[in-house]
Amino acid sequence: MERPLTQHIKNDGTWLTLKEYEAAGGYRALKKALQLPPAAVTQIVKDADLKGRGGAGFPAGKKWEMMPMGKETPGPKYFIANGDEMEPGSFKDRLLLEGNPHQLIEGLIIGSYATQARFSYIFLRWAYHLAAKALTECIREAYEAGYLGAHIAGSDYQLDLSLHISVGRYMCGEETALLNALEGKRANPRAKPPYPIVSGLFGKPTVVNNVETLSNVPHIIANGADWFLHLSKTGEGGTKLYGASGRVKRPGLWELPLGTSLREILEEHAGGMQDGYQFKGVLPGGGSTDFLTPEHLDVPMDFASVMKIGSRLGTGTLIVLDDKTCPVGMVRNLEHFFAQESCGWCTPCREGLPWTAKLLDALEAGKGKMEDLDILAFQVDYMAPGNTFCALAPGAMEPLQSALHHFKEDFERHIHEHKCPWN
């Protein structure tokens, strides 16, 4: 089983230096790409059907293809790596950032070349201190080696890359809010259309890709689209970093073929539930995905399959709910996070999430009323996709709506027993 993304990661708290990365074949893909016309590079990534690993699964090649090209396009163009990993339960980009920054940098340079961007940024979560150190060091090395700056690897292509460390709001992970934050403005999302590819950073055409997405790019260029498509177990190409947290025997992170089943991840890689705990449900792709329950365990974990059963692959990092943890408490915890992280721009998110969080507080405290369940259902409808300005609140509603569906009795018990049954 091939593990292109993680095979060289040392797992000892240090990252691959430029020398080590080059020894492992690093930057050969970049040199290869620079020999090709930009459109040909994009075509390879498009053929590989590399779906965005940030959660939405939009194909990277298609995004690059939309970048306005040619002399007439407004410039400078920008290419951004979104490393603001703050989704509750997600820690997959962290491994790539801390363990192999050059892989990301190479992917970023290839992507920038393919879209003819002039400037590139890595937008990093504030709490990733080790990653910041690693990236700073690796960007310096890449400049010194001539992989960044003018005449990259002897070509005519010029790219400058900077690391931007965010101040730490979940909102900044939303690609347009990220752009505002990068411009030094409030991290409010922007209305779409126009999409960043038309009017992005500083109003110029911009690509924003996730760290894991970009880390795949050097391997796709080096080995070809077919190779990539065959890495997976399903029609969607590549490997995926899957993670698990909660009361499993071995919480962790594994690079597995895309489409590995939920059961295999849970039972083989995470080692199954800890002794004395029963599996009750799982958020398959981070805090803003819908609960899956035991009957869903055989789902292949790819974008289309998880979507089909009413949840989302998201970041592919499982948050496991066991029978000794209160589902209402778990959702309450999540909704507090989302309420706090709302930027305050649109009404449903700004007002609806704190209200939701307060209702769940009341339920947990045994002060819930049956009407509260109607109000929670109202909140789910109210913050449905399209009703809000961005995806934050609809995402926040996913664990709630599925919990109301799967664990309705648990909610009602809180009301009838005037306390949390798990307390």
Binding site: P74, R169, M171, E183, R186, R190, A191, P193, P194, V198, S199, F202, G203, A339, Q340, E341, S342, C343, G344, W345, C346, T347, P348, R350, E351, G352, L353, P354, W355, K358, A362, E371, I375, F378, D381, Y382, A384, G386, N387, T388, F389
Partner: protein, 947 residues
């Protein structure tokens, strides 16, 4: 900025409509007269999609019955679009959204100043939401002190973001912002303090609820429904912004913007909005010193009198004074220096070939060259509209990306705050410098030279067929600037040249029109706009070419001439020796304090030379103290009238109320003065203002007489319907139908309801009875429509939202450009005169300073400065010096200096002003202690040491 009209067919709740495809769906629905609630969208600020209140159901096609919620404000209107406003899902979402907004709203309507005219109340009712399910604690905020104009109550905030979008994005303010996040977002200043922006008062109207309210209104609070309102025109600068003035219990309570797309649109400046309180002053003259019966023997005796008119008074009042004393004896009560410049502007308005845009049209220009005018302080709303013009060229990038013009947030992201091309040439720094491409600091003569240089650069192009202009010798740097200004104006589609009279420079006025003419000769769609000092400066100066120093000279006051004033070929009037009637001279002074217009000793001498000094004025001042006969004149709030703004637009204002004292419009007093007492009908009450021997004389009669004498002003007869106009059989009520307590107001004196005052002068009534629909645009006293109690009811008065009013925007331009056919022979207005008009470059004189006026939005206008709230913002007097000049003279910030001039010595502290031209000192114009100083003048500045 493409405004192509593309008509499309759309379906709303299965009914077909024709709609303008360049608008968003919300604006379209509102324009179609449909009710769709909204908060964050504003017709001048456009769409950002924050509040989610305007949700409608959008169907994919005719077969789609399910639909999807979309926000109408962000939805383009395309052919075949199918939506539902009434679908239950859409209703439910909108009601739910208001419920969510109410989560933290305090529901304090009874004690909220906004109550009864609150957009939030209206929209809440519109959605049908009526019972709140939220049962937890509400979020609370602390409020801030924001200065004398605007009150802050943050707990009421529904986070629509309109305040910051207006204040920062539209008006260029820096000190109001949004802080914090999630349900804790806070709109205010970084710390308590006076809101700095000159347009802060618009927050009162832009805010959909009671967060930002009018602090001056708060001091004498009245609900909207209890106000008596009148359509009026702001009198506090020359732009003539349209206002609604409101009264209760005999005092004026507030000013609101009255929409006029050709003038001020939705907004007002803070001087216009908060400068009204002088009307309620204790210094008001409310009693005549003599009855008309006593005055008529003087005024109707046939003896010669002189009349001093006023740029603050209406055409009608000035006209009647002119008739009373005879045209030859009528003088405009402004300095000759000022009068000559205004006449020069009038000459260009009348004979120029370049279009003078309306204030509203200013927003559509895409390159600006300001020649010698600090518009933020002399014509504030022009500055606001110029800021919008500065966005047009950068905005073309967004248009190229096919971003619709209403998608404000997206445009902003593309444009990234870019402005220009925008050039400013002034002697001192101005607030608009922050958006300027380049600025030029120099003496007025050098500014004129720069502009002539620009004109030459344009004219010198091979493409120009116009007669050649005189080249100007400029230093290299200035010449480069002239070239780049010329290039920017030529590259623009619609360049605009802005200038004005504030620097007392004829050369500047001529140079500005020379630039405009040169552009016009190349076929450019150029605009030329001048500002003048006061509300009716143009109207007054159209009636006479004689000014104050002419009157002083006539009265034998010898040294009446101001510096910079050359002999006026037109001055003179009667050829008779004025001293013939020396011991029995009468002067009638209309709404004008001569001590604000000339030196004290001139004014003193003038009054000593007259046996009878008849003064009509609003407030006690030094001139009223010289009056032998004093009559209480009505301000714009107490009388009807017509004034002509800087653009040459005649506009009508109406009395808000008939005061419960003897204050009357000056035209009524003047009308009453001209008849001999013995001809008047017997048994007249002592006040016989507005009465002729035959009949009571009404406003329309005066207008008729006016247009007989000035036939070119025929249009002012039709500015608004005449007094005889009725909607059906009804007059237009000044009071809304919910006006309350009218039987109680006078109950202390008499329990019987008194007869309401009649208004024979207009088609408006002083009561709540009358026509309840939408009146003719010029007669609209307030905005109200069923379900729309707030100012946003204006939507219902417009043909389409943001567009002209039903019946057209009121007002009438008296002048249009004279088409002389492209590059025809040079005309008298500019070209030919150019060569001789180019002044020599200014050179500083060691040890002496040329003192130029500095203008302050709060302070340089006499009457608004007497309003307590504005008074708080008036600076103390100072003299501004450039750093280098101050250093040479051994002066620092705050040093006290003495400035001798014309026998008066002024003692002032020094203020260092970066960028002020060397050799020039700046003195605030119009402050109590600097009033009457004629600018510009040369002086010495010596340090004053207090011993």
């Amino acid at each position: 900025m493409s405004l192509e009209l593309t008509m499309v067919k759309i379906f709303i709740d299965e009914k077909a409509y024709e709609a303008d495809g360049s608008q968003n769906l919300l604006a379209t629905c509102l324009s179609l007269g449909l009710n769709l609630p909204y908060f964050c969208w504003h017709p001048a600020l456009h769409s950002v999609g924050a509040c989610r209140q305007c949700a409608v159901l959008k169907y994919k096609n005719e077969e789609d019955k399910k639909g999807k919620l979309v926000m109408a404000c962000l939805e383009p209107v395309t052919d075949g679009l199918r939506i539902s406003i009434e679908a239950p899902e859409a209703h439910r979402f909108r009601a739910g959204n208001v419920e969510a907004l109410m989560v933290n709203h305090p529901h304090d309507c009874p004690v909220c100043d906004e109550g009864g005219e609150c957009h939030l109340q209206d929209m809440t009712v519109m959605t049908g939401h009526n019972a709140r399910r939220y049962r937890f604690t509400k979020r609370t905020h602390t409020n801030q002190y924001l200065g004398p104009f605007v009150n802050h109550e943050m707990n009421r905030c529904i986070q629509c973001y309109r305040c910051v979008r207006f204040y920062k994005d539209y008006a260029g303010g820096k000190d109001l912002d949004v802080f914090a996040s999630h349900d804790d977002v806070y709109f205010g200043r970084q710390e308590d303090g006076v809101l700095e922006n000159e347009f802060s008062g618009n927050l009162v109207e832009v805010c959909p609820t009671g967060v930002f309210t009018d602090k001056t209104l708060k001091r004498h609070f009245t609900r909207k429904w209890d106000l008596t309102d009148a359509p009026s025109i702001c009198h506090q600068c020359s732009l003539g912004c349209n206002i609604i003035a409101s009264e209760r219990y005999g005092s004026i309570r507030r000013i609101l913007s009255r929409f006029n797309g050709d003038v001020n649109g939705y907004f007002l400046c803070d001087r216009g909005r908060f400068g009204y309180e002088y009307i309620n002053s204790r210094q008001r003259v409310v009693k005549p010193s003599h009855s008309l019966q006593d005055i008529r023997p003087i005024t109707a005796s046939g003896k010669r009198m002189i009349g001093i008119g006023s740029p603050k008074a209406s055409l009608e009042s000035n006209f009647l004074l002119r008739e009373l004393v005879g045209p030859a004896n009528f003088y405009a009560g402004i300095s000759n220096a000022e009068g000559r410049l205004i006449r020069q502007v009038i000459g260009i308005l009348k004979n120029g070939k370049v279009k003078t845009p309306s204030l509203g049209e200013v927003k559509g220009y895409d390159a600006v060259f300001i020649v010698g005018e600090d518009v933020t302080n002399t014509a504030p709303l022009l500055a606001l509209n110029l800021r919008q013009a500065a966005k047009n060229t950068p905005g073309e990038q967004a248009a190229a990306l096919k971003i619709p013009i209403w998608n404000d947030a997206a445009i902003r992201e593309v444009v990234q705050g870019a402005t220009g091309p925008f050039y400013i040439a002034t002697p001192a720094a101005t607030k608009l410098d922050e958006i300027a491409t380049q600025t030029y600091r120099a003496h007025p003569d050098s500014i004129a030279r720069l502009a002539y240089g620009v004109a030459f650069a344009i004219n010198n192009l091979p493409a120009s067929t116009a007669a050649s202009l005189q080249p100007v010798e400029l230093d290299e740097k200035t010449n480069t600037l002239a070239q780049s200004i010329a290039a920017a104006l030529l590259a623009a589609k619609r360049p605009l040249i802005v200038s004005g009279t504030s620097l007392y420079s004829a050369a500047i006025l001529d140079a500005a029109s020379t630039v405009a003419d040169a552009l016009k000769d190349l076929g450019k769609e150029v605009g030329l706009l001048y500002t003048v000092p006061e509300a009716n400066s143009i109207g007054l100066s159209l009636m006479t070419h004689q000014f104050l120093e002419d009157a002083l000279e006539r009265a034998g006051v010898s040294d009446g001439h101001a510096p910079g004033f050359a002999d006026d070929e037109a001055a003179g009037g009667d050829d008779d020796d004025a001293t013939a009637d020396d011991d029995d001279m009468t002067a009638i002074i209309l709404e004008n304090d001569l001590y604000e217009r000339t030196y004290r000793k001139n004014a003193d001498a003038f009054f000593t030379r007259h046996k009878n000094v008849i003064v009509l004025d609003y407030l006690e001042n030094e001139t009223t103290r010289q009056a032998t006969h004093l009559l209480p004149a009505g301000t714009f709030a107490e009388t009807d009238g017509t004034i002509i703004n800087n653009e040459g637009r005649a506009q009508r204002f109406y009395a808000v109320h008939i005061p419960d004292n003897e204050v009357r419009g000056s035209w009524k007093w003047l009308e009453g003065m001209q008849y001999r007492q013995q001809d008047m009908p017997a048994g007249q009450p002592d006040i016989a203002a507005g009465q002729s021997p035959e009949k009571a004389v009404h406003f329309d009669d005066i207008v008729d007489r006016l247009v007989t004498v000035f036939p070119e002003w025929q249009a002012i007869k039709n500015l608004a319907p005449p007094a005889t106009f009725r909607e059906g059989t009804q007059k237009i009520p000044r009071e809304p139908h919910r006006y309350s307590g009218r039987t109680a107001i006078h109950a202390g004196a008499n329990v019987s309801e008194p007869m309401p005052p009649a208004d024979p002068d207009s088609a408006l009534s002083f009561t709540m009875e009358g026509y309840a629909g939408i009146p003719p645009p010029g007669l609209t006293p307030f905005y109200w429509s069923p379900g729309w109690n707030s100012v946003q009811a204006i939507n219902k008065y417009q043909i389409e939202v943001g567009g002209p009013l039903h019946g057209g925007n009121p007002g009438h331009r008296l002048f249009e450009p004279v088409d002389k056919g492209g590059g025809a022979a040079p005309d008298a207005a500019a070209g030919a005169a150019t060569a001789k008009n180019i002044p020599p470059a200014f050179s500083p004189q060691p040890g002496r300073y040329l003192v130029l006026p500095l203008y302050h939005i709060f302070g340089s206008d006499e009457l608004s400065a007497l309003s307590p709230a504005v008074g708080e913002r008036v600076p103390s007097p100072y003299i501004a010096l450039n750093d280098a000049d101050a250093a040479t003279a051994g002066l620092v910030e705050g040093s006290w200096v003495e400035i001798p001039f014309n026998g008066e010595v002024h003692r002032l502290p020094v203020r260092l002003q970066v960028g002020l031209t060397e050799g020039i000192a700046g003195l605030p114009k119009g402050l109590a202690s600097t009033a009457g100083i004629p600018f510009p003048f040369w002086t010495t500045i010596t340090a004053h040491h207090d011993d």
